[in-house]
């Protein structure tokens, strides 16, 4: 038996023995996720315990080095762990921007001291992180950001405002882009970490057109941050930011692909009825849904083909922009057609019948798909320039 097979057998046995039964139930809603952090309210003892024992083994971040709280697994072993967890229906013990975003950046650009300080706490779910990038006047054009950090001998003083900071009101620490020099747009930016409990930090939740959201505005008023909390060189944060943005874009790529939703045609036929020959009774809606399903099928296959090409080393990195663009537009179309099929009933906003307006709220929320994570316009610019090689203005 190969070593990998042995690992698989042992892993399965360990998971079967240790994963609490409750943590093997399918995730019912977003609130089932375990985000960790200082103030996190565990939903159950099982959830707390699952995080703890996985954290102890470093299996919340199986491929990180053991020295930083990881599992020290090889890529192949991590894949096996993942597959076994899926096979047994184990919930992820921890979801976290620390794992997805800050961790990779620190591993690549942090000092040894920074890694030792922050990574283990991320791995054990002790510190919950949020991301401070966008500002009211620096959305797509991130390089325009204006939050200012005055550099002193051993500390920086930060003043300014961030927006779209997901879960800022529940996070313990923030990783943040700040301007440390106004000499040049891109080169005057630094990547910095600080505690959200520092004096001068405040947050305000953002209500979206669809209702409550995890987003916040975050304000910095003379926040004092030790100089050793700068990651990478001073004024060289743009490199790290770009690294993370690409990362983020890839995560969002699959947005158009939602398998847990009832097929549109079926939903619509149930909502508006069928004619004598079984066809959806609104002919023009029927045609639009068919066109949508065709495009959706094409998108699923393109996602698959892009993966297959990337595995062969034939992928174009800018393809993620194409997928982000199309996935977002497709998802918007899906919800337009859903709301159109649902008619007046779909426009209810409160009350039990509409499950507190779930359909209408999801429809409205989907409008953000083509804005967040880089607008559709930005993605098309990237495709035009980096794939098609069209000249810049």
């Amino acid at each position: 038996m190969s070593e990998l097979e042995t690992f698989r057998r042992e892993t399965r046995a360990w998971l079967e023995a240790n994963c609490p039964a409750q943590m093997r139930q399918p995730v019912a809603s977003e609130s089932d996720a375990c985000w960790g952090g200082r103030h996190f309210k565990f939903q159950s003892e099982a959830q707390r315990r699952w995080l703890q024992i996985m954290g102890e083994r470093g299996w919340t971040v199986p491929a990180w080095p053991k020295a930083y709280g990881g599992g020290g697994l090889s890529k192949e072993e991590a894949a096996v762990l993942n597959a076994e967890m899926r096979a047994l229906g184990c919930r992820p013990p921890l979801v976290s921007f620390g794992i997805w975003m800050l961790g990779p950046a620190l591993l690549a650009h942090g000092t040894e001291e920074q890694k030792l300080e922050h990574l283990p706490k991320i791995a054990r779910g002790e510190i919950r992180w949020c991301q401070g990038y966008s500002e009211p006047n620096a959305g797509s054009d991130l390089a325009s950001l204006a939050t200012k950090a005055e550099v002193h001998d051993d500390h920086l003083i930060i003043n300014g405002q961030k927006i779209w900071t997901s879960y800022a009101d529940e996070a313990d620490w923030i990783f943040c882009l700040v301007r440390t020099s106004t000499a040049k747009k891109h080169t005057g930016i630094s990547f910095i970490l600080f505690d959200m409990e520092s004096p001068g930090v405040s947050t305000r939740p953002i209500v979206l057109i669809s209702g409550k959201s995890p987003f916040c505005e975050t304000f910095f008023d003379d926040v004092r941050v030790p100089r050793r909390n700068v990651v990478g060189e001073l004024n060289a944060g743009w490199t790290i930011a770009k690294y993370l943005l690409t990362h983020e874009r890839e995560m969002i790529g699959g947005i158009g692909e939602r398998s847990n939703v009832k097929p549109l045609g079926e939903f619509a036929a149930d909502a508006v009825g069928r004619d004598a020959s079984g066809r959806l009774s609104e002919a023009s809606l029927r045609a639009q849904i068919a066109r949508f399903e065709i495009d959706e099928a094409a998108f699923r296959l393109l996602l698959q083909a892009s993966g297959d090409r990337a595995r062969r080393g034939e992928g174009n990195p800018a393809m993620s922009s194409a997928l982000k663009f199309y996935g977002a537009e497709l998802n918007k179309r899906r919800w337009e057609l859903m709301i159109s099929a649902a008619g007046a009933d779909g426009l209810e906003w409160e009350g039990e019948r509409s499950n507190e307006g779930t359909l209408a709220r999801t429809w409205l929320r989907s409008k953000g798909n083509s804005i967040e994570g880089g607008t559709s316009e930005i993605q098309l610019n990237v495709v035009a320039k980096r794939i098609l090689g069209l000249p810049g203005v």
Binding site: S144, A344, W349, S376
Partner: protein
């Protein structure tokens, strides 16, 4: 007839616009929504609106109204579309007023039309029974019951239904025959449920269980309401199209201003040619809708033979244009457009409701095809 407003109509447009932007701008709707106002509109403000004569447009002069037409009603609706003001204008001052004027008995007219003109009554129009507008499929049934009627059935998406003083209910009284009935909300067997809609305007679901209705509650002739209903629905559709036009206009103004003011990559975003072309196409769509809506309103007043076709075209076109306006509006505003704090989301929500109301673009395109013989 020239496809432009005449002088009086131009003055009406200016005055109602000024009135609404001063007294009932979008912030007014927002306040009602956030305070979860039980009535859903401000009765006092609505009376002030009526004091200007705006509720009396379609009330005949004999009943204290202005005796004006669809074009003037459209002008009011267009202005209401700009400010999203949630008044019972469509239900009461358009649909009910025109039904009473066309089919009401002298007693019904004398009782209700002056009150409509004075904003002293809310009359809700109950037609739809399913999630999509399908007036041909009305199933609520009124059966003869002594000298009167007995009403059973359910209605949905009834504007202003939960605050109405009276309903006008379209009921089936024979296989092909419809009858319009005036129904008292307080009658036994009537159930009313307020539906809180995405656009924060009033609507309700109604149930009628053996509701007994007197013979004097019939509007016009029993079993023969089809023609009046068609005419009134078309008037309503043309007026809603005007409202969508006003909404699209307002959204486009907001968006255009933002394109000129918002800077990215060291330029106003309105300098980007891709956005310029999309804005230009949207502008042209709005101008097309404007011409078509005025044509439809004029036809309702002057050329009944062509009205149904033009109204279907206008409602379909206005739905598509307003939809494009709010989609582009949100997208071009970027993140700020997604926040509840900013008005554009309110426009998107209202546009969606008005699209559904009395038939969406698909419904009316289907009618156009049928009327044009294919």
């Amino acid at each position: 007839m020239a496809l432009v407003l005449n002088e009086e109509q131009g003055m009406l447009r200016d005055s109602v616009k000024a009135f609404l932007s001063e007294r009932a701008p979008v912030a007014h709707l927002r306040k009602l929504r956030d305070s979860r106002d039980a009535l859903g509109f401000d009765r006092q403000l609505w009376r002030q609106f009526a004091d200007q004569g705006y509720s009396a447009i379609l009330v005949p002069e004999a009943q204290g109204g202005l005796g004006l037409g669809a074009v003037e009603a459209g002008i009011i609706a267009e202005a209401l579309g700009r400010t999203l003001t949630p008044w019972p204008f469509l239900s009461t001052a358009v649909l009910a007023a025109r039904t009473l004027a066309r089919a009401g008995s002298p007693a019904q007219q004398t009782e209700l039309l002056p009150k409509i003109a004075a904003a002293d009554v809310v009359i809700a129009y109950a037609v739809d029974e399913a999630s999509k507008h399908r007036p041909a499929a009305i199933a609520a049934k009124a059966a003869r019951d002594g000298s009167g009627w007995r009403l059973d059935g359910a209605k949905t998406f009834v504007l202003d239904g939960h605050v109405a003083d009276r309903f006008i209910v379209a009921a089936r009284t024979s296989d092909l025959g419809l009858t319009l009935l005036l129904v008292d909300p307080r009658a036994a067997g009537v159930q009313i449920e307020r539906t809180l809609m995405v656009d924060a305007h009033n609507a309700a679901r109604l149930r009628f269980d053996g509701v007994r209705i007197g013979a004097d509650a019939v509007l016009g002739k029993a079993d023969a309401a089809g023609a009046v209903l068609d005419e009134v629905l078309d008037l309503g559709r043309a007026v809603i199209a005007a409202q969508l036009l006003g909404l699209a206009d307002a959204v486009f103004e907001l968006t255009l201003a933002y394109l000129k003011e918002r800077r990215q990559f060291d330029r106003a975003i309105g300098e980007f040619q891709a956005l310029q072309h999309r804005a230009a196409e949207l502008y042209i769509d709005i101008e097309l809708t404007r011409a078509l809506v005025l044509g439809a309103l004029q036809a309702v007043d002057e050329n009944p033979a062509k009205a149904a076709l033009l109204v279907a075209q206008a409602k379909a076109h206005a739905c598509t244009t307003a939809d494009r306006a709010v989609q582009e509006g949100v997208q071009m505003h970027g993140g700020i457009g997604m926040t509840d704090e900013f008005d554009i989301g309110l426009y998107m929500k209202r546009a969606r409701t008005l699209q559904e109301l009395l038939g969406d673009a698909g419904f009316h395109a289907d009618r156009v095809a049928a009327m044009n013989g294919y």
